[in-house]
Symmetry: C2
Subunit: 225 residues, 2 copies
């Protein structure tokens, strides 16, 4: 029983990776089974054999991405829960927690990560829900959203379930998300064609300052003028 024997089920992962890439770039309808199998280096019929059809391959791609990203979110949730008990009522610690989270999220959304090509697919499902939105929503955006609500509730001393808290957290998350979502617009405006590390650093700093300011926190790492 060789665990990484490439013989059996060898076409499944290549097909899923091709699906993540092509569906992410062009959308479901614009990608043909032939294009998928060609990118994966397999025969067209392996899609039916391994998954049942094009739709099921799309679903498998979403499940795959979800399972890749889930542990990170779980980890962040756990870390936050732990940090929350430490941060307590200390505004400086709260501010650092928020800065850290913004930094992580922006690197996650904008940076070239180790799992390279899955973001477009995630975003597509995020923005234009497909038939498997539920599968995806429960595992990813919901957790992320709850995470952010916990933070806002902590700072403002409110209930993380409150409508107001959720709306405010949602709005603040928009400051991060828009840099991924409206990328074409920002790039056209700035004459950019990629997010370099320096640009991400600058964006991170500006967003951190805006969010801290919005939450009436002062940055503990900058002496006030």
């Amino acid at each position: 029983m060789n665990a990484n024997a490439p013989t059996s089920r060898s076409a499944e992962i290549p097909l899923i990776l091709a699906a993540i890439e092509l569906f992410g770039r062009n959308g479901y309808a614009a990608v043909s089974t032939r294009a998928l199998s060609e990118r994966a280096g397999t025969n067209v019929s392996s899609i039916k054999y391994h998954f049942g059809g094009k739709k099921e391959l799309y679903r498998a791609a979403i499940v795959y991405v979800t399972e890749q990203v889930k542990p990170r979110i779980e980890f962040a949730m756990a870390a936050l829960t732990q940090a929350r008990s430490l941060a307590g009522d200390d505004p400086a610690l709260q501010a650092r927690l928020i800065k850290q989270l913004i930094d992580n999220l922006l690197k996650f959304f904008l940076g070239s990560e180790d799992i390279p090509h899955f973001m477009p697919l995630v975003m597509r499902e995020f923005l234009i829900p497909g038939p498997y939105f539920e599968t995806f929503y429960e595992a990813l955006p919901r957790r992320l959203h709850e995470l952010f609500c916990e933070l806002v509730a902590m700072v403002e001393g409110s209930d993380p379930q409150d409508e107001t808290t959720i709306l405010r957290a949602h709005a603040l998350m928009g400051q991060i998300m828009i840099f991924h979502v409206a990328r074409p617009v920002l790039f056209a405006r700035m004459n950019w064609d990629s997010y370099t590390p320096e640009r991400i650093d600058n964006i991170t700093h500006q967003v951190q300052q805006l969010v801290l300011s919005a939450l009436q926190l002062t940055d503990p790492d900058v002496e006030s003028s």
Copy 2:
């Protein structure tokens, strides 16, 4: 010479409206010429006759939407330019200007407007640029972006062309945009299925407070506690 005679060229507008609706809802590749012509109540071949093909119909839809929305943005730009000279250094007036703009934008993005169905198409082009992104970008998002940068620059006393100003304005716009863009996520989270006027009011209020706070302005319409 009856100006509104429905006889000649009567299939053009219905086809464009069908294109705005269907392309907006399902994306370019997922919509067939037959579906378009059926929705418009015309024959398939009128697409070739009036526009040249499916691609050109898509372009016509973008141009149409652009021309519908452009005057509003021009008007808002003019109003802001005028208001800016009045607001000057008065933080209270600046705050009211910002509140007003946020209110307008959220109503525009979330509310059921007079031109009812074009928002999904606009957003699609916004998020996933098609071959006619340039046409669209110059007329809409660019103006909106500049508008917001002007405002931020006014409040912070900075140059509207500065990278920092643009990034901060971009981030703040995210607080508004996300309520349109991540609509499926928010709805799933809140168990909503539409933006009612009350919900839009609440969202508007929260975003206004967050943006004012981020820009270190106090709301002139609320006495501080």
